[in-house]
């Protein structure tokens, strides 16, 4: 059953058209890799899936609800169940790690401080970040910021997670840490889309890939299928033969 459906999605910025009829679906519990060259518009699709960008035409359906032209107020309910992991973490720099994680709990739940503290401490422990609980984002390394960003995104136990280059700029140790966390969430049957240029991570976590090229999806197949075809766009992309 498709949890995410994008149908004939078109998007322009001024006179520059970025997408001209993008179509794909993501099934429940599946992790889809959205790959393509820099500037192909991968992040724009991801942002549109949570209503941070509006489609010019076409439709975006999440859990059978068309969110394409939804108002900001109506999108709040969708955003409780669809998490977005920003490339740079996008942590609130005036808040501690604890407050960053408590942000959505305070906004959407009636948890007491003690309940919140327990849930956040458990989450941070799972992410290896318990010692950073009282620190501010500026006191964290890049890898830690990304992990906190991921921890914050999943505080509301979302059905869908959208990862925007979660391993970009990280060293192998932190890349592996993020990979493990994504696999752990995948094991919980969370549906996800991973936008990445880091193909080893993509191959490790994604069930399927779609390749964005020339404003449309040029290739769509399972990881095994695409890696098994020497001329597949994904293989060419890995070898640096196309951008």
């Amino acid at each position: 059953m498709a949890v995410i459906e994008i149908k004939d999605f078109k998007k322009s910025f001024g006179t520059k058209q970025v997408h001209d009829g993008v179509n794909f679906t993501v099934n429940k519990g599946e992790c889809l890799g959205l790959v393509g060259g820099s500037g192909a518009g991968k992040s724009v699709i991801l942002r549109s899936l949570i209503g941070l960008e509006k489609a010019d035409s076409g439709s975006i359906i999440i859990n059978s609800i068309d969110i394409t032209r939804m108002s900001e107020n109506n999108l709040i309910e969708i955003r409780k169940k669809v998490a977005y992991v920003f490339q740079n973490g996008a942590l609130f720099d005036s808040m501690t790690v604890f407050d960053n994680l408590a942000y959505s709990l305070r906004a959407h739940t009636k948890m007491t401080h003690d309940q919140m503290d327990k849930k956040i401490s458990d989450q941070l422990d799972e992410f290896g970040l318990l010692s950073a609980k009282k620190l501010y984002p500026s006191e964290l390394s890049g890898g830690m910021q990304k992990r906190v960003g991921l921890a914050r995104a999943i505080m509301m136990d979302p059905d869908v997670i959208l990862y925007d280059e979660p391993t970009a700029g990280l060293d192998p140790y932190n890349t592996l840490k993020i990979q493990e966390l994504i696999l752990r969430l995948k094991a919980k049957k969370v549906t996800s889309i991973l936008v990445t240029h880091d193909m080893p991570t993509g191959i490790a976590v994604c069930d399927r890939f779609v390749f964005l090229q020339n404003k449309v999806i040029s290739e769509n197949g399972t990881t095994q299928e695409l890696l098994g075809q020497p001329n597949s766009l994904v293989n060419q992309f890995i070898k640096g033969q196309i951008v």
Partner: protein
């Protein structure tokens, strides 16, 4: 022919940009009022902003107020001395500060300090995707960012204008006594006797409008930063310029408006 077309395109661009800004600001005001009526209301954020805008601006306002009060008393005193008009100095200083100098100088200081602060803070949050994160986490940046700042300005600015009026008159009194040779008790009595409710209404009324002139453009320019950190500086400049110009231009029309209102009272 092509020159005409190019000229028209250029003219259109000149007209288009301010119209888009006006539309954007109108949209922001509309969102402010519609979201103000719905829950939740972040009271702690409002208190935080009142502290930042009101309490933290106090030293700046005290210095501005005492300086302008002293200068006004000196200028009026020296000017009126040859006509024997020194006894009118307290009334003139009080009226000028209550009606004009208090709200305008306080407004300009707040536009520079707070307007710039709001625009650069929000702009930086846009650049670092913190505003997007707020939306992605199912909360409204209007509620968390815009409403507390506009309301805090609406609350803090009239209070600062009142403080400015008191301190400005104290400055006038000091100069009146030590430079113009006026008795301090006489000066104080004249200020109290000649200042009336209409002076306060005009001054406070202007302060309310000025707080909107400062906070709304500052929030708008901050939220509309698009192309990285360079635009944060540009947004800050725009916020201060827009706030200051609106205060100057608006002051004329508000003065007229309050004269009309006073005639009814």
């Amino acid at each position: 022919m092509s020159n005409t077309n190019a000229g028209q395109t250029k003219l259109f661009k000149y007209i288009e940009a301010p119209l888009l800004e006006l539309g954007g600001i109108t949209q922001l005001v509309k969102s402010f009022f519609s979201e103000l009526r719905t829950k939740p209301f972040y009271f702690n954020l409002l208190i935080e902003q009142i502290y930042f805008i009101g309490v933290k601006s106090l030293p700046l306002i005290l210095i501005t107020a005492i300086s302008s009060g002293m200068v006004l008393a000196l200028q009026y005193g020296l000017g009126l001395e040859k006509f024997g008009g020194k006894p009118y100095v307290p009334r003139l200083v009080a009226s000028s500060i209550l009606r004009e100098m208090g709200p305008v100088f306080t407004g300009l200081m707040i536009a520079a300090r707070v307007g710039a602060g709001i625009a650069s803070e929000i702009g930086s949050m846009v650049v670092t995707q913190q505003i997007d994160a707020m939306r992605a986490l199912g909360t409204s940046p209007i509620k968390r960012i815009v409403i507390p700042r506009i309301l805090a300005c609406l609350i803090a600015l009239p209070i600062l204008v009142a403080v400015c009026a008191v301190i400005g008159n104290i400055g006038g009194l000091i100069v009146g006594q030590y430079e113009l040779g006026l008795d301090s008790a006489f000066y104080f009595r004249r200020v109290m006797e000649t200042s009336n409710l209409k002076d306060y209404i005009a001054g406070m009324g202007k302060a309310v409008f000025f707080s909107l002139f400062i906070s709304i453009p500052a929030c708008y320019y901050g939220l509309n930063v698009k192309n990285g950190t360079k635009e944060v500086g540009l947004a800050t400049t725009k916020a201060v310029v827009a706030g200051s110009l609106l205060i100057f231009v608006g002051d004329f029309f508000l003065t007229k408006l309050f004269w009309i209102i006073e005639k009814w009272l």
